[in-house]
């Protein structure tokens, strides 16, 4: 059992998570640029619910924001897990913390997706 716990999360070695964290980092740079450009600059800084919901009602913006949300959550969850791997070396505690991080990330993702999909234009 202890051996299984020690190996938990190590089968992939880390290369897959590492490359996806770089890819999502790149997606974040582009998505953040678009987010700031459209939300804070192109509309003169006038951020209202009506303006945001109007944009989010469009399928293209739903896709962009879902991509943004997915990239941000994957990137941050991997960042937290990397810190756990750096500092937590007791197998049971590590497994618990990594599991909690994934569950919290998943809940936030589902909540975010549901919100973006549900939004309709006023």
């Amino acid at each position: 059992m202890n051996q299984l716990l020690k190996q938990f999360g190590t089968q992939s070695g880390g290369s897959t998570a590492w490359i996806w964290q770089r890819i999502t980092g790149l997606v974040l740079v582009i998505a953040l640029f678009l987010h700031y450009l459209f939300l804070h600059f192109l509309n003169g800084g006038n951020v209202t619910y009506g303006e945001v919901s109007g944009r989010l009602a469009m399928p293209l913006w739903k896709t962009i924001d879902i991509t943004f949300l997915t990239a941000a959550l994957y990137h941050s969850v991997q960042g937290v897990i990397m810190n756990i791997h750096d500092y937590v070396h007791r197998a049971m505690l590590r497994v618990t913390l990594v599991s909690i991080t994934w569950v919290v990330g998943l809940i936030l993702w589902i909540t975010g997706i549901a919100t973006v999909i549900a939004i309709k234009s006023l």
Partner: protein, 234 residues
């Protein structure tokens, strides 16, 4: 001769409850290094001081220690280049202290063994040497100049928090063989590299690069190795 003050880490696990610093005032000659000062203390003032030394020429790597907060070789560090007074000398951080400046290097050598730091090539040996062009040799960069002093590994916070982490020196050695065109052993090393205690623990803070007394760049080597492993996995 100039009088300089040295604050040296002292700890004898058989008699001391906790470590302390002892201060020595030494008449330093113009060309002296930190190792000359340690020898002066050991031979003429305080024979109980313990440290490692061997070649005195920056090749064996025995006398690596932390001087004024940066890992370096005691035999290469000229006192004249150091303006700060007192000069503080500590053992390499991240290792168990045997006594004073001598540390237990076992974790360092264990990590090194895990990356199989030797040429792996099962092709029949040619009648003479396995030839390499200058371009092929250049792929390894100056990584072959590593003297295994552990200054880099001991300066790495990832190693401080994870004693099983391979560390920059072992990863630099893995780079040296992975990028050696005569070597075919990546598939035998990949398990140690693509591992929770392997390549992905490096967060590129470049302490290893700052600490290396041979001006090698383990951070860059690790980046190239990470790219190579990802390509291999894809």
């Amino acid at each position: 001769m100039a009088k300089r003050t040295f604050k040296i880490f002292r700890f004898n696990p058989e008699t001391d409850e906790k470590p302390s610093y002892k201060t020595y005032e030494i008449d330093v000659q113009p060309a002296w290094t930190i190792l000359d000062v340690l020898n002066e203390i050991k031979w003429f003032q305080d024979g109980t001081l313990t440290y490692r030394r061997s070649c005195r020429h920056g090749i064996c790597g025995s006398c690596a220690m932390m001087v004024n907060g940066i890992n370096n070789l005691a035999c290469e560090l000229q006192i004249a280049t150091m303006k700060k007074d007192p000069i503080v000398i500590d053992p390499l951080p991240g290792f168990e202290i045997y006594k004073d400046l001598a540390v237990n290097m076992d974790p360092f050598y264990e990590a090194l063994k895990r990356v199989k730091p030797w040429l792996i090539n099962n092709d029949p040996a040619p009648s003479r040497e396995r030839l390499q062009s200058q371009e092929e040799f250049a792929l390894m960069g100056n990584s072959i100049a590593c003297i295994l002093c552990a200054a880099c590994t001991s300066s790495c916070p990832s190693f401080w928090t994870d004693g099983e982490y391979l560390g920059p020196a072992a990863l630099l050695k893995a780079f040296r063989y992975t990028f050696d065109t005569r070597d075919h052993g990546l598939d035998q090393r990949i398990e140690a590299l693509d591992n929770k205690h392997g390549l992905w623990r490096c967060h590129k803070i470049t302490n290893c690069f700052t600490a290396c007394p041979k001006n090698l760049n383990p951070t860059e080597a690790i980046s190239k190795l990470q790219k190579r492993i990802v390509e291999e996995k894809l």
